[in-house]
């Protein structure tokens, strides 16, 4: 048989029916559900008198709208904003009506959907996984084909357990060698996006490979695949290795005993064959990657912390130069300004990109024994799930943050997209570990700089961006 990529294998494994026009009916093993993109899908089922095809293939959790302050015991009643409360209450009601497992607000397992899936072993290698959320690409870290879908497709999966899809092309991003100390998975993915652009992966599934990727922990691989969508690819992938298998072992939804060993044997095959053809190959040298900071309103507007803000006059493409000027005006920055001279107002450590235990440990390691700069109005840590929060507290990390003047919050999406009360005010500048620096993403008029957890922590202490390698 011809050599196949990991993506080819995952795709072929899930084709129920191939159509002549190149589309296929693809079987979906798991669907994650949250409150924002599901109400209209449930309503559609109801209107058509349909039932979920396989209710146990779904797991629901509210995350986007939940407050991060106050106690969780009150559940939905604890949400002050009536519109948000109605949306979360609607998820509860829909899950009850259609008998779908839900981790409600007051459940310790509640958290950001892309943190919860892997943490519970609901995400397994070799699966197709979807969610009405573009960062579903995160789960590709497990050698699973995972991608975000719109609400009509959410309903389609609920009703049929399938999706009509067209196969994407194969891209390989190989990161050779090893990154230096202080350089994280976040810096690797930002450097990749800086190189190929936010549309560079459009129409492709990206497989990340090379020594630097193999060396990453599962948390790091999730950070990497999480932002595949920011490179334009619906899905990112990392081949399965022993780290993947050991991460999954023993998790609540994972297979047990002999069945686990049988599954693991199949999972070990989940890698691209030697010589498998890719439509595009991009290579990076890990040793060249330094901590990254975005300066604009698109994740591709990114430079090393040691660099200066780029100059639109030096951009030859007029459409791009125009976009850069708009971004500089919005961000309140000028060309050629050193990144390290940019002072910040707020710090956000959280989101499905960087809110796992390893991220929190990395930030805590920088902060330990230091204090947040007085000029920083708010520095907050929002763990990705109730279980991450509990683990961090058992390790005493919450104390490190609080002693440094940080706020230690309840889990949720929080200031990643500012649907709840956590947001930037117009003109405020934030060092954020999230994934999108779009205009208004963290609050209307807010200015977002994407960085790694260690870089965000260092910025909180210094009051401006600094190179965490020398901090």
């Amino acid at each position: 048989m011809a050599a196949r990529t990991l993506y080819d294998k995952l795709w072929e494994m899930h084709v129920v029916r191939q159509e002549d026009d190149g589309t296929a009916l693809l079987y979906i093993d798991r669907q994650l559900v949250h409150e924002v993109t599901s109400p209209q899908a449930f309503e559609g089922l109801r209107l058509a008198g349909r039932q979920p095809w396989r209710r146990e293939a779904m797991l629901a959790v509210p995350d986007h709208n939940v407050p991060t302050l106050g106690r969780r015991d009150a559940g939905v009643e604890g949400i002050a904003d009536p519109v948000s409360r109605e949306q979360v209450a609607t998820l509860d009601a829909n899950c009850a009506e259609f008998k779908i497992v839900e981790f409600k607000m007051n459940d310790v397992r509640q958290g950001i959907v892309h943190v919860v899936g892997p943490e519970q072993g609901f995400t397994l290698p070799g699966m197709t996984i979807v969610c009405g959320d573009s960062h579903t690409s995160t789960h590709g870290a497990f050698g699973a084909l995972a991608f975000g879908i719109g609400t009509s497709e959410v309903e389609h999966v609920m009703a049929t357990q399938t999706l009509i899809q067209k196969k994407a092309k194969n891209m390989l991003v190989r990161v050779n060698g090893h990154v230096g100390p202080g350089v994280s998975a976040k810096d690797i993915i930002l450097a990749i996006i800086g190189k190929i652009g936010t549309a560079g992966g459009t129409g492709y599934t990206i497989e990340f490979a090379g020594e630097a990727i193999e060396a990453l922990s599962m948390e790091g691989r999730m950070t990497l695949c999480n932002m595949a969508i920011e490179a334009g690819a619906r899905a990112g992938l990392v081949a399965v290795d022993e780290k993947t298998i050991e991460y999954v072992r023993g998790r609540p939804f994972a297979p047990k005993g002999e069945m686990f060993e049988r599954a693991a044997a199949a999972w070990r095959e989940l890698r691209s064959d030697p010589g498998a053809p890719f439509d595009r190959v991009v290579e990076l040298n890990a040793a060249d990657i330094v901590p990254q900071v975005t300066w604009g309103t698109s994740p591709e507007m990114v430079v090393p912390v040691t660099a200066v803000v780029p100059n639109p006059d030096q951009e030859s493409d007029p459409v791009k130069a125009n976009g850069m000027r708009k971004a500089l005006a919005y961000m309140g920055l000028s060309a050629n300004q050193p990144i390290e001279s940019i002072a910040i107002d707020k710090v956000f450590i959280g989101s499905c990109t960087n809110s796992r235990i390893e991220d929190i440990r990395a930030a805590a390691a920088v902060i330990k024994g230091r204090k947040k700069a007085a000029s920083v109005k708010l520095a907050m840590v929002v763990p990705g799930s109730g279980l991450v929060k509990k683990q961090a507290e058992e390790e005493g990390l919450d104390k490190i943050f609080m002693e440094a003047g940080f706020e230690w919050r309840e889990p949720g999406c929080s200031m990643c997209l500012a649907m709840n009360a956590d947001r930037l005010e117009p003109g405020e500048r934030c060092a954020s570990t999230s994934n999108r620096n779009f205009e208004g993403r963290q609050g209307q008029g807010g200015r977002t700089h994407l960085v790694s957890p260690a870089m965000a922590a260092a910025a909180a202490i210094a009051g401006h961006f600094v190179d965490v390698r020398h901090f």
């Binding site: 129920v16 029916r17 002549d20 026009d21 589309t23 009916l25 079987y27 093993d29 924002v36 993109t37 109400p39 209209q40 309503e43 058509a48 349909r50 986007h64 709208n65 519109v83 109605e86 949306q87 609607t90 070799g126 009405g132 959320d133 573009s134 579903t136 975000g148 879908i149 719109g150 609400t151 009509s152 497709e153 389609h156 009703a159 049929t160 357990q161 399938t162 009509i164 994407a168 936010t198 549309a199 459009t202 334009g232 297979p255 049988r262 459409v319 791009k320 125009n322 976009g323 708009k326 997209l417 500012a418 649907m419 117009p426 999108r436 779009f438 205009e439 208004g440 993403r441 209307q444």
Partner: protein, 211 residues
Amino acid sequence: MQAFTQHTGIVAPLDRPNVDTDAIIPKQYLKSIHRTGFGPHAFDDWRYLEPGEPGMDHSKRKKNPDFVLNQPPFDRATILLARENFGCGSSREHAVWALDQFGFRAVIAPSFADIFFNNSFKNGLLPIVLPSETVDRLFQAVTARPGLELTIDLESKTIRGLGDEVLTFDVDDFRRYCLLHGLDDIGLTLRHADEIRAYEARRKVEAPWLF
């Protein structure tokens, strides 16, 4: 879903690359549990001068005179002309609902983000990919002649209105079929229910841990 066969309308130029779904419909409107009511909030941050929240009387909000969709004749546009990577970012189908409910029937761009592209077809909004040079020419034509109308014909996959020139575009057969007839694809898929069950039966043997 509303069918799309042929449409003639005014073209509005939105001259910036990477227009993301956060810009098309800001997050505060995503709290709605309904499928309608998004039209007044399309491009909310760019369209109005002061911040908007759900529940406000949007007819009273001050509009930004510099924003193209606030300028006649573009306020009556039904075809949006955009730059590369349109609809990038979040998977929110609310972005498509907002464009549709604003009155757009088609978006023309050199490239679209994949999820937005899929979502459009599910709602009768036709995303048309044209080469960058053609899109450039359309921008020039619309700027030279504001109010320019184009006629998009999905059956023949053509666009007319640029003098004698007939532009052609490509669409997958299945998607075109669904759009032309306004078909709900859940119903279509369920015609293959037996095949889905047969697949499941086979996978239960091959990979029982998935069930």
